[in-house]
Point group: C2
Chain length 522, copies 2
Amino acid sequence: MTPQGTSLIGQRAVTGDQAVIRPIDPASGEALAPEYPGLDRHAVAEACQLAEEALTTYRETSLEERASFLETIAAEIEALGDALVERAMAETGLPRARIEGERGRTCGQLRLFASVVRAGEWLDVRIDPALPDRQPMPRVDLRQRHVALGPVAVFGASNFPLAFSVAGGDTASALAAGCPVVVKAHSAHPGTSELVGRAVQKAVASCGLPEGVFSLLFGSGKEIGQALVADPHIQAVGFTGSRNGGLALMATAQARPQPIPVYAEMSSINPVFLLPEALQARAKEIAEGFIGSLNMGAGQFCTNPGLVIAIKGEALDAFTAAAGEAVKGSAAQTMLTPGIHAAYDDGVSQLAGEAREIARGSASEGPHQCQAALFATSSADFLANAALQAEVFGAASLLIECEDLAEMRAVAEQLEGQLTATLQMDDGDLDAARTLLPVLERKAGRVLANGWPTGVEVCHAMVHGGPFPATSDSRTTSVGSAAIHRFLRPVCYQNLPEGLLPEALKEGNPLGVTRLVDGKRD
Amino acid sequence: MTPQGTSLIGQRAVTGDQAVIRPIDPASGEALAPEYPGLDRHAVAEACQLAEEALTTYRETSLEERASFLETIAAEIEALGDALVERAMAETGLPRARIEGERGRTCGQLRLFASVVRAGEWLDVRIDPALPDRQPMPRVDLRQRHVALGPVAVFGASNFPLAFSVAGGDTASALAAGCPVVVKAHSAHPGTSELVGRAVQKAVASCGLPEGVFSLLFGSGKEIGQALVADPHIQAVGFTGSRNGGLALMATAQARPQPIPVYAEMSSINPVFLLPEALQARAKEIAEGFIGSLNMGAGQFCTNPGLVIAIKGEALDAFTAAAGEAVKGSAAQTMLTPGIHAAYDDGVSQLAGEAREIARGSASEGPHQCQAALFATSSADFLANAALQAEVFGAASLLIECEDLAEMRAVAEQLEGQLTATLQMDDGDLDAARTLLPVLERKAGRVLANGWPTGVEVCHAMVHGGPFPATSDSRTTSVGSAAIHRFLRPVCYQNLPEGLLPEALKEGNPLGVTRLVDGKRD
């Protein structure tokens, strides 16, 4: 299959007539065919109307039907074969191993949600049986399950062309919850988006589902995205991208006659605390791990370690020297888009104006190349300058030099919300870690010891989330099985006759799901 | 104990110096002593700062300590004895049985949350153990638990002076989640609020908790409430009240540098659908049940049945006649405040201008009396006039006369979000109910058959929530054990040494809580 340059509205392929998205190969700067003419507002409304029409059927599909649909999507993506891998490589400048790994992650994620759907924990079934003889008043029969929120708008991210894009975590978890999905494709990888969109479209048809379960929209400006979030049928939004982009969608969602939740994953600098014993024992090893994590994917990860905090001294000098050497030895890497590259260069210039340069990586003559950068500053300067907390998307990091542990803690306390916080620690650092942990738990969705924040496992215990501005809603995660809860709401059924009860709540537990009966797990 | 006219900031009693709240007995219109001088913004900031300082200790109290604190609050409220009952009766005009019942509900609710805390399901413990030999990449050890969001602002409601006020559902669930609470007292029952506040304050002290776990603030205008929601330490808001009040708090919460969740329970007209067979078989009985529910507490319930939908015909005529008779026989009842009474009279006048009056209840010469009211209109008029969906807080209801089931469904589809939707149905109505149910599930948090929406059981399966404008967040409930989830967020711990792990996540499950291990419930 080759990309055709079309949006997908239900089962139709639609060619827009608005401003055109022109994909390029960021490694060469050359144009890629085809172009993607954008849609207008009427097309957005049409996709949302179809999603609304699909909801009643789709949200009541059986656990098996829905799980099997998710598995079919995975199989259809795999069936795209090398055409998908090559197109994604061309549109992103990312290497084959990364794209193949990401395809594996994307399909694994769909299959994980299939297993989550089948297990049925997400229904959160609760039954409080009637107590007709209770004094002073009888209790009626009360049963709760969770239902789909409604049609969901998903915004593909630029930095994971598969795993956080058309059939990525947001789409997989929304579909798992029983929500039809309307995706606004990211303009950075339209061909990849269309190929994956056609795989989903095919799965909708082969599973006999209503066509409105999935649509994929292209639009070059912000209008299509804003219209999508404003559409009255849309009931929730999943977004991964910049802080400004997320804030704009949050504002639109709140200004609707009926406000809706926005799950925006926005901005994080992922502080890494080097505790004294660990720094003393293995400064060089930690420095190498750090720069490895920093350079991964040209630093274009939400979990890129953009801040390192340590106490001054010989051990830190050794770390800084080793990290500086590693940065100097870092080859330039192609960034995802000209816009991301320009923003990276701007961010690095700002850091250079505010902090001391430790090292820069190799320059390159190709277009859109990320030249790694490491800066340092004192904790006093960091605490006095909120601008130093701004995310620089790419392989740039800032080292904060503290006088003592109390200053490290002061830095931690002043941090904005984060996706992750990391402790590099040895056995002798336990007390120091205990001092920091209560602060870090409040700042971040994930706390790590002796690892690096890049590399987000898709599993049940993962939290890829965190307090604002890391995300718009710290109560949730966008990676892992708990992501399904973002698209559900509880409904209580009081005294309904058995013939009217949803399957999940019927006597005898026909779905075999875990239930809380009278407050006890059965 | 008698009320002193003070706010409570931590363990101190504080007399404000701003505009004064002058409590009255709404039954007589007479003033009640003492007066409550309002606080200023500095006092709000002080209470929030104390809450912040209390958080680190309080959120890590053991399950037993926290449960026992909730039980101590219940015991302290009971220990207030008749002084509390009499003060609440005087301030609200509600009868003794209602206040005593509500006290039982309030203390029962605190004890329910104690049992929820002990059971530990709310921790949502998830463990994905390390898989060092996994190919192509090993998996690290990942563990998740839920932690308290942070200090919570609670706004007491006027219509439940105990159960939705100072130590009501919002406070109980926030404290259960490990969040310190700062309550803005409702000006309609300040003495009741102070008495209950002192009971909580006493429990904080006797349980040896940091004083900032609880504060109670008085302020006569909107400034104190807005300052509270804007305070940077506050991390979530619980509110029960008017649509305008809730919208104002939502706007303040969104405009903060760090937006926070607002759980506002606002406005609902609680449609009741009379299905044909049931109406045919028991028009008079249904009419009596309806008016009983309508008149309960002078209709001052969020779940008051403000809308009845049925198909025209003889059976509906019989229902209307019987309901009209029952309304005519309804005695006037004292409303909670002059403001609520004035708003009720305005709302009834508006309905009188748009719909046909069926009956009014007895008039009364006392002040602030609710004179029950029943109106009727055609489904065509209802569908054409959004103003007919406005909540009239009090014993007023509107009957919608439809031509057929399709029109009933059209009415259902046009409804705004609701707390409840009710079906009056007999066996022969199953098909009609199946037509409506998918619509009602999307509109309401609770769907009832053959009951009345007033009377909200405090249990595990309850949902007192629903789509906007019933609440600001349909993903939650403000009544029942699931209300605790509003004040929690997940944190993932990656590869932490055993000595640093929270108790809930340690090897061997020392808390004995239910856990999801590798996706399976253990």
